[in-house]
């Protein structure tokens, strides 16, 4: 008998006591509060900041200048770029663009200073950005290995209030990464330290009519 059959058989014997059917109550809240779009964006910004992400606000027109400034401030020599990032976001003349390619090795990615991506959506109540590997986001590893990640969120349309609102908008077949602030650990005497393995600095740019 295979282990699969053995385990399934044990389960079926274990459940012979006719445990009652369990209905799942779904009366928990789909959202915790009523907010205008502006309030939703403010809450997202507040929660991200609390997680020690650096939040910036700008509009479409000023976005390229802001990104240039942020990369300059880091002294970034190179920047990873997912294939579908709008070209005008990063004007030429800035840091060397490194395209996201399947062939690049982790060692190559480790030498890149910064990465700029968009996102699939953001969740205000938890201060979370979700990436789904879409064209403006690239492979999961590009937002992981460089020490500096700039994530651009279109507001208010990419922002939802809550986790229950976020899940139906996501496709589980795609690789999903939920990010709430930069990499952090509290393993040493519960002192919070940023950037153990993932990026030490997460900058979030909220783009919309301000």
């Amino acid at each position: 008998m295979s282990s699969k059959d053995r385990i399934l058989g044990r389960i079926r014997r274990a459940l012979r006591d006719d445990a009652p059917e369990v209905a799942i109550p779904r009366d928990y809240l789909p959202v915790h509060g009523t907010r205008t779009p502006a309030e939703r964006v403010d809450l997202l910004a507040a929660h991200l900041t609390e997680y020690r992400a650096v939040v910036h606000r700008t509009d479409e027109e000023a976005l390229p200048a802001l990104l240039t400034r942020l990369l300059d401030a880091r002294g970034a020599q190179s920047v990873l770029v997912p294939p579908g990032l709008p070209p005008r976001w990063l004007p030429s003349g800035g840091p060397t663009r490194v395209p996201d390619r399947a062939a690049s090795t982790p060692y190559e990615l480790d030498r890149v200073d910064s990465v700029v991506t968009g996102c699939a959506l953001a969740v205000a109540e938890t201060g979370t950005i979700v990436l789904d590997g879409g064209p403006g986001q690239g492979r999961r590893r590009i937002t992981l290995i460089p020490d500096h990640h700039i994530c651009v969120i279109r507001v208010p349309d990419q922002v939802v209030d809550s986790v229950p609102q976020a899940l139906p908008l996501l496709d589980p077949a795609r690789p999903l990464t939920w990010i709430s602030g930069p990499s952090a650990t509290s393993d040493i005497e519960l002192d919070r330290v940023e950037g153990v393995h993932g990026p030490r600095t997460l900058e979030v740019v909220l783009v919309g009519t301000q």
Partner: protein, 500 residues
């Protein structure tokens, strides 16, 4: 704590809980570290939970999802297997620790690699995977900072969430200084004991391993039957490194971790982070489904994914109508942080990878109550009920503790490796001694005595004029006529004034 960690299967030789706990309570550093940590986390957690007006409803829903899944566990596991396979993954079934270790060892061997990186996983600790791999000539590197501290220190984890909670910064610095060089990149010199510096040393040491790793081993917090999606919650990014960089990913996951639908995650993604780290959300959550839609050269992540579904005592636990609720556990560790016994005794005293209240009910069920440590674990509690109050899936830990005490003291039906057996009662004196020593040790402090109320209420319900479990064995030979009239505190005071 020195000596090589031999994994869960070796723990039955561990001393009974009272003996191990007595060691621990003498250790001042340990107690100070523990006290600070558990109090900090539990105060923060209360705030995070209070933020959600529907906490009780989320808790009830989480409990129901888990109970429903367990009720149809065979069906959901088959659905999961189908979904993972359809997405390009391979599913393996492991009835016990040996089989799981064998499967993983073979999978690693097949890649031709001699080392793997690991993201913290209780299931692989439970089966002693690192030791099995080592025996096969394969080095397994733990990459969670706390797990790294534990591994480099030849130590054992003592907390579910913060496994190195028993170590302070000076001890950690010393471990890094002396041990890192044996495993790879040495610690930078000079190395201070500031957590920032220590984290940086770990970053450098481990990055070297991440970048070259070809094989990774993980666990998972949830598996979605409907879609085949695996979910890992973490903070540091070591999880993301392991889950996305290597070519081969092997996940070893207990069969109880399955949930029916993708939507069900909306419950646990709200309750787990708040219960465990007291955050609205942990910094990183990774979800992947097989090899994803774009496989092959242009794919995102590993090119081979193996899921090892682990039983190892879980179906035996499922066979126990009262005890099976332990399988709802989502390993948030909230119960550890509120437990007066854990706070004094520390995680090592439980002699298993699952410490604290959940360990006291899970380990004796997964392993049976044959060894001294497992027979004494159901007594490692004051039954104060705080663990039940905080549990995000409403596991009635005191109820299961009492149930297991009865089993230890009186024997009765149980299931071992899928076979129904009738356990013999533990030797009366052994049971009595275990109970009394544990209780004396643990109630040696006024605060914990409040605990008695719940014990008394439950003892009365279960067996009037008798104490439950081994306590009952004790009252079998002695009249205890006043237990109902007397408060537990009074009763205890009287007992304590007896010469030991």
């Amino acid at each position: 704590m020195t000596g090589t960690y031999l994994g869960m299967p070796a723990f039955p030789d561990f001393p009974a809980f009272p003996a191990a706990a007595r060691e621990a309570v003498r250790d001042e550093v340990l107690r100070a570290n523990l006290r600070h940590a558990t109090h900090t986390i539990r105060d923060k957690r209360a705030g995070a939970v209070a933020e959600l007006a529907d906490w009780d409803r989320l808790r009830a829903a989480g409990k129901a999802v888990k109970d429903h899944t367990l009720r149809h566990l065979d069906r959901y596991l088959l659905q999961l297997e189908e979904a993972v396979t359809a997405a390009g993954g391979t599913v393996h079934w492991a009835a016990d620790a040996d089989e799981a270790n064998r499967i993983v060892t073979e999978l690693v061997r097949a890649t031709g690699e001699r080392e793997v990186v690991k993201v913290k996983s209780m299931a692989t600790q439970e089966i002693g995977l690192n030791e099995a791999l080592e025996a096969a000539g394969i080095a397994a590197y733990e990459t969670d900072l706390a797990e790294l501290i534990v591994q480099l220190g030849h130590d054992r984890p003592s907390h579910i969430l913060v496994p190195a909670i028993h170590r302070n910064r000076a001890e950690i610095r010393d471990v890094f200084r002396t041990e890192m060089a044996h495993w790879g990149r040495p610690a930078p010199e000079p190395l201070g004991d500031d957590p920032r510096e220590l984290a940086e040393a770990a970053r450098l040491h481990l990055r070297e391993k991440f970048l070259r790793a070809k094989v990774a081993v993980s666990g998972a917090n949830f598996m979605v039957a409907e879609t085949g999606t695996m979910v890992v919650l973490e903070s540091e990014g070591n999880g993301r490194m392991c889950l996305t960089l290597p070519e081969t990913l092997i996940s070893v996951v207990g069969i109880e971790k399955v949930v029916p639908t993708f939507r069900d995650l909306e419950i646990f993604l709200q309750t787990l982070p708040r219960s465990s780290t007291a955050e609205r959300m942990n910094p990183y959550t990774t979800m992947w489904t097989g090899l994803g839609p774009s496989r092959g050269a242009e794919g995102d992540g590993p090119t081979a994914f193996h899921l090892v579904l682990l039983d190892n005592g879980r179906t035996d636990t499922l066979a126990d109508e009262i005890g099976r609720q332990a399988l709802r556990c989502i390993r948030c560790s909230a119960c550890l942080n509120v437990c007066p016994v854990y706070e004094r005794a520390g995680g090592h005293a439980y002699g298993s990878v699952y410490p604290g209240p959940i360990g006291a009910i899970l380990s004796p069920q997964l392993r049976g109550t044959g060894s001294t440590i497992d027979a004494s674990l159901p007594y490692a509690s004051t039954l104060c009920g705080a663990c039940y109050e905080v549990c995000p899936v409403a596991i009635d830990i005191p109820e299961v503790l009492l149930h297991l005490r009865e089993r230890v003291a009186q024997g009765g039906p149980a299931t071992r490796s899928g076979v129904r057996v009738t356990l013999r009662p533990a030797d009366g004196h052994t049971a009595e001694r275990a109970a009394m020593r544990a209780a004396r040790l643990l109630l040696d402090r006024p605060g914990a005595l409040r605990a008695g109320e719940r014990l008394l209420a439950r003892a009365r319900r279960l067996a009037p004029r008798r104490l439950p479990g081994a306590g009952r064995a004790w009252t079998d030979s002695r009249e205890l006529p006043t237990v109902a009239a007397q408060s537990f505190r009074d009763w205890w005071d009287r007992e304590r004034s007896d010469p030991r």
